[in-house]
Symmetry: C2
Subunit: 313 residues, 2 copies
């Protein structure tokens, strides 16, 4: 990064339902947040209009700001290309950075949404000050990111951190990606619902566990529902096994768990910690902490804004 | 690293059976190799004598050389401490660097043996020129190492790269480490023997598959033994699944597979490549290559010597 005076930045987080955006002060304070529905069934022009509208609201004075954009899927960060995204199913190899450069008056920096989450939690959240960290987002999808030696590691192609699609149970349950036994197929939202449904004796959550959300299961668990408690404990155990693998491979300072399901962290993190530490090769005192994420749903746009200030690719 | 003129280095690889050592010229050429039996059932003094003897043979002129030592197990590289090692079962927290500094006249740099292998294959072998690489050694144990952004990544504690103990089949077969379903429990030497024994209808390799080595199974496979061919293909499939996970998490330029079992690479790498690429999120043209290691059994001491020249911790 060339030297420059501290400046504000605007970050965008293109989610499946909403585009969230916000402005980050030069001191790293979240100043203002806005959101608009994601035109997920339309082409790039509609999304460009949405992002442009949010940009005008967040930067009414037309200041010279840095801009970053995070989006789920395969993001070619160097070229600002959305190769494919589950949130934008009609898109294929869309040069979104180029398309935004005109309307915004600045070419935004791009990155994967889970990498944005990781960057935010590392710079301003749960992993602040760590030299290395691995962060996970748990939700319908399971994503993640790596900070190594004080910077985001995005890999050769910008695809690093796809921890949701690391096989954890060879020949296990089918994942949305088509593979079997991915972490996402074991700890994602629909896996939790299926697990609860099975433990509750079937039918409790409607056909194929589709009738109840992890939030609903968490409510039942807090009301003492044994099946709901077990569903989260078992989910935590699988998460902990995966984290043990991450620790053996990467040996980071700290692990961070966030995403929509992390509102139920109290229900699954204890089991995750136990499973991570069991048979860990590290002496117990050297096992990394598993910390809940600190920034909530704002982490996506905050990380995108941070990336805009200091792109790693 | 401080600047200094190119110099020769001596590397030691403390194996379960032999201590291998060699001298690396300033140009990175393996000049001379020696080995002595590892006094694995004795205390540190016996090993210090062995290393000192090899050092004198390899450096008869008493030149000012860099020295590096690689050893299996948990190595605290910063302090030159062997915390625990499967090759030195009686040892616990032995300050081997300190013990060697006197006799050798230089304090050696330490690292894990699989990290040494990785460093050698990256600097002088199959991953030469890559910006990032993940390397695996397949043998009785399964180890590995990561090169990220042009340097060895050893993690917070120096324990990174323990890919053999990344869970691949939750609740799967028991591993030597006490956990279930580790990669080592699925592709290590005894897993291959058990798999062959089962596929051959039992008893073919003696009780619990202990009577036949992967080398013997490879010979039978090359003679057309269907069970032996299947045992390697199935092993390759598990390896490929694990590598897909590594690629999703780290997204490296290249993957390297070495170790004792890699003599049978022609029998398992095709299946590994297929399994790695199946359901890989990367577009096919961006999938990394899986390359067989290039340096053979010398990689351990060569990597240790390279580490002596330029310690990463």
């Amino acid at each position: 990064m060339s030297e420059r005076s501290p400046r504000a930045a605007i970050g965008f987080d293109i989610g499946g339902t909403f585009v969230k955006a916000g402005r980050l002060s030069p001191e790293g304070r979240a100043e203002r947040e806005e959101q608009l529905p994601t035109p997920s069934q339309e082409g790039p022009e509609a999304l460009v209009r949405v992002i442009d509208a949010l940009f005008r609201v967040l930067n009414p004075e037309g200041a010279d700001l840095s801009v970053g954009v995070g989006c789920a899927g395969l993001i070619d960060a160097g070229r600002g290309l959305v190769r494919t995204s589950p949130n934008l199913p009609l898109w294929k190899d869309v040069p979104l950075a180029d398309l935004l450069a005109g309307p915004l008056g600045v070419r935004p920096a791009f990155l994967n949404d889970a990498n944005a989450f990781t960057l935010a939690e590392w710079c301003l959240g749960a992993a602040r000050g760590a030299s290395s960290a691995v962060a996970l987002t748990l939700g319908t999808g399971v994503g993640g990111g790596l900070v190594l030696d004080g910077r985001l590691w995005t890999g050769r192609n910008g695809f690093a951190g796809e921890i949701g699609h690391v096989p954890l149970m060879a020949d296990g349950p089918l994942c949305a990606c088509g593979a079997r036994g991915c972490l996402e197929a074991l700890v994602g939202a629909s896996a939790i619902a299926r697990r609860y449904d099975k433990l509750a004796g079937g039918g409790a959550s409607g056909p194929a566990g589709k009738g109840i959300t992890p939030r609903g299961i968490a409510e039942r668990a807090r009301a003492g529902d044994a099946a709901a408690l077990s569903a989260f404990a078992e989910t935590g155990r699988y998460l902990g096994l995966a984290l043990r693998g991450v620790v053996h491979l990467v040996d980071p300072d700290v692990l961070v768990v966030g995403g929509g399901i992390s509102g139920a962290a109290d229900l699954f993190l204890p089991a995750a910690r136990d499973a991570m530490r069991e048979n860990l090769m590290h002496p117990p005192e050297l096992a990394p902490e598993i910390r809940p994420a600190a920034l909530g749903a704002a982490a996506g746009w905050i990380g995108a804004a941070l990336h805009g200030l200091n792109p790693v690719v």
